[in-house]
Amino acid sequence: MSELSRHKRYAVRTGAAGLAALGLTLATACGTPPGEGSEEEGESAGLAEDPQFVWAVTGADRQVHEEVARLWNERNPDRQVDIFFLAPTADEQRQAMFQDLQSQAGEFDVLGLDVIWTGEFADYGYIESLEDLRSEVDGVSLDGAVDSAQWQQELYALPYSSNGAFLYYRTDLVDEPPATWEELYETGTEAAEEAGISGYVGQGDQYEGLVVNFLELYWSAGGELFDDAQSQSTFLEGDAATTALDFMTEAYDSGFYAEGFDSMVEDDARALFQAGEAVYMRNWPYAIPLLEGEGGEESAVADDFAVAPLPTFTGEGTTSALGGLNNAVSTLSENKDLAREFVLWAATDPEAQDILATNSLPPTMQSAYEDTEDPHLEVLGEILGDAHARPPVPGYNSMSLVMQENLHAAYLGQEDPAAALEAVDRSADEALEQE
């Protein structure tokens, strides 16, 4: 090979090696992988000229939270609040609040926490105890909502908004909503065959929604995840766990669950039901206006659906998992008294809670459900009265991830059911551990 071409090759290689080294360094430099999608950090609502404290809350249902804050500002012109809107998805909200707290930035005074985060935030030392405010909300807020705001019998947050599940059913295909899960299965299978559609849609993907769907079956079979003192797991006591899992496995195998149930989230289910493709649907209240065809939504079932409480295995009562938000006070807040006052006000002021009700975001004050004229709200009041809080233990998220993995594989027949349930039991015990 000539001297010239060797030189050229050398140059190519040097360049290539340099480039490669640079690429490698940049590629591996970040100790943490990139998050999903956008890096949107949220934004201030700019509600006050001279805000005294900041309320960090989900960007979902933004105008409702804004209206609540405006009402506070109107009444407290010297002590105004500003809202910092977080991303609408739960994981991103939690991450944003963790960043604010862990980095000691302390921008947020009031934290709008998902009902399952109480234990974790309390255990991490992120939020103040509000135990002395218990008497203000006992009997005023929904019992389930208060349950979700405490960890180890101590109150760390106050209820703000709630959520519960409806059983949506097709009035043109079934006469009466079922009282038991067996009845639901039988009537649903029959009606689905006649109409040539699917029996049931719900949340079967491997995510928090699956845990909620499973727990509703589990609780309605008489199960409880922990003993009263939240000191150990009682997941496997009785036969609630196997009853619930067997029901799901059979419903999946027999095709009662619609095709694609195993990757279905709330809006997938809603879309199928709205297109007239299913007899029953388990979903949150948000679907009602869409199914009714409000705002130009196309709906095949606008006049043919109704809502009822979810059935149980015994036919008695109903069980729904409780959703919603609790407000807590950050330990880094420089305005704790004001923050506490706001948290209490948002939980117990009838006018503030009424803003939620009129915007179809379920409020947590019991009085909001009494003598209401909205039939859906009335049913919801009945459901929320019996609703179960997912236990807000510190390791809830780890436990939930284990449940997602094992239960999903188990009802699809990819994992031995007994082994799956034992794994869940172990994770429930681990979720209680504190360091």
Binding site: R13, G31, R94, Y124, S263, L401, E435
Partner: protein, 298 residues
């Protein structure tokens, strides 16, 4: 050689020293941007961090990594994904590059079309692929006439993300290889043709050897990238063990189960794995270069 060096010394700084001075700012920049976070992460990995409670625990987190079945599952997933996707991307990319290198009518358009997937952001591409694989509406199944649970069957979902990744990054490999192809002088092919070499022989004895630097760079980039893969696995299956790669698994302890110490230990181990693989590639290139320099100095 010795003479030129003494001359330059007399003038002041030597060429080497000048070079170092010129390199210093960019090196400092790299150190701040790249090295600081790495060492910071390694430092954090020695702590157990739960919110405001943190405690120095030495190498406990690393001991936990080595006994964590979830971690080894992630290593397995990552290796399967990397080997399968990089080899397929190489074959497909090579084919694309050879096609694009030919002179034919519409060559410009073909090049543009082949590059389209590479231009689409991975997160967006992942969403689109997920939708196509989904049971509802079941696009892929109806095209292939199959009834496969693409998103939730552990084996098939791996096939799913590998094919999506090949679609996405084969054009990138093609681009790198095309650049390499264009540096090969035409004369060699002409000479080979005069000597009666067949197409296969020309490819095997001229194209491949001369393309070697470009191939190594392409494989290095793709391997390192595939080892860090996050988007497709996360969009397809979230934190599910069936697809969790090393990046997804580390992210799980950063966001879903926030234990910053353990997350950083996982990231550090991932970093070390990627670094070893990367250095293995670079040293292969490096040895030849050192050889060249050594011969020259004789």
């Amino acid at each position: 050689m010795a003479k030129t060096q003494s001359v330059s010394t007399r003038r002041g700084l030597g060429e080497r020293a000048m070079g170092r001075i010129f390199l210093a700012p960019s090196f400092a920049f790299m150190a701040v941007i790249a090295l600081f976070p790495v060492f910071y992460a390694i430092g954090m990995s020695l702590y157990s961090i739960r919110g405001f409670h943190q405690e120095f625990t030495g190498f406990d987190n690393y001991a936990r990594v080595l006994t964590d079945a979830g971690f080894f599952n992630a290593v397995g997933n990552t290796l399967v994904f990397t080997v399968a996707s990089v080899s397929l991307e190489f074959v497909v990319g090579m084919a694309f590059a050879l096609i694009m290198h030919q002179a034919f009518v519409g060559r410009g358009l073909t090049r543009a079309v082949i590059l389209v997937p590479w231009v689409i952001p991975t997160a967006v591409a992942a969403q689109v692929w997920r939708y196509m694989f989904d049971h509802n509406p079941g696009f892929v199944n109806s095209v292939l006439g199959t009834d496969v649970n693409w998103l939730r069957d552990p084996a098939w979902s791996m096939v799913g993300i590998i094919s999506a990744d090949v679609w996405k990054t084969a054009p990138f490999v093609a681009l790198l290889l095309l650049a390499g192809l264009q540096t090969i002088p035409k004369d060699y092919y002409e000479a080979a043709r005069v000597d009666g070499a067949t197409v296969v022989q020309r490819f095997w004895f001229i194209t491949l050897p001369l393309l070697r630097p470009a191939i190594v760079v392409a494989l290095l980039f793709r391997t390192v990238d595939a080892l860090r893969m996050f988007d497709f696995a996360y969009v397809f299956a979230g934190y599910s063990n069936s697809l969790a790669t090393l990046s997804v698994y580390a992210q799980r302890f950063l966001v879903a189960e926030p234990e910053l110490g353990y997350a950083n230990a996982l990231s550090t181990v991932t970093f070390v794995i990627v670094m070893i693989v990367g250095l293995a590639f670079i040293s292969r290139m490096g040895r030849h270069m050192v050889g060249d320099v050594a011969r020259k100095e004789k």
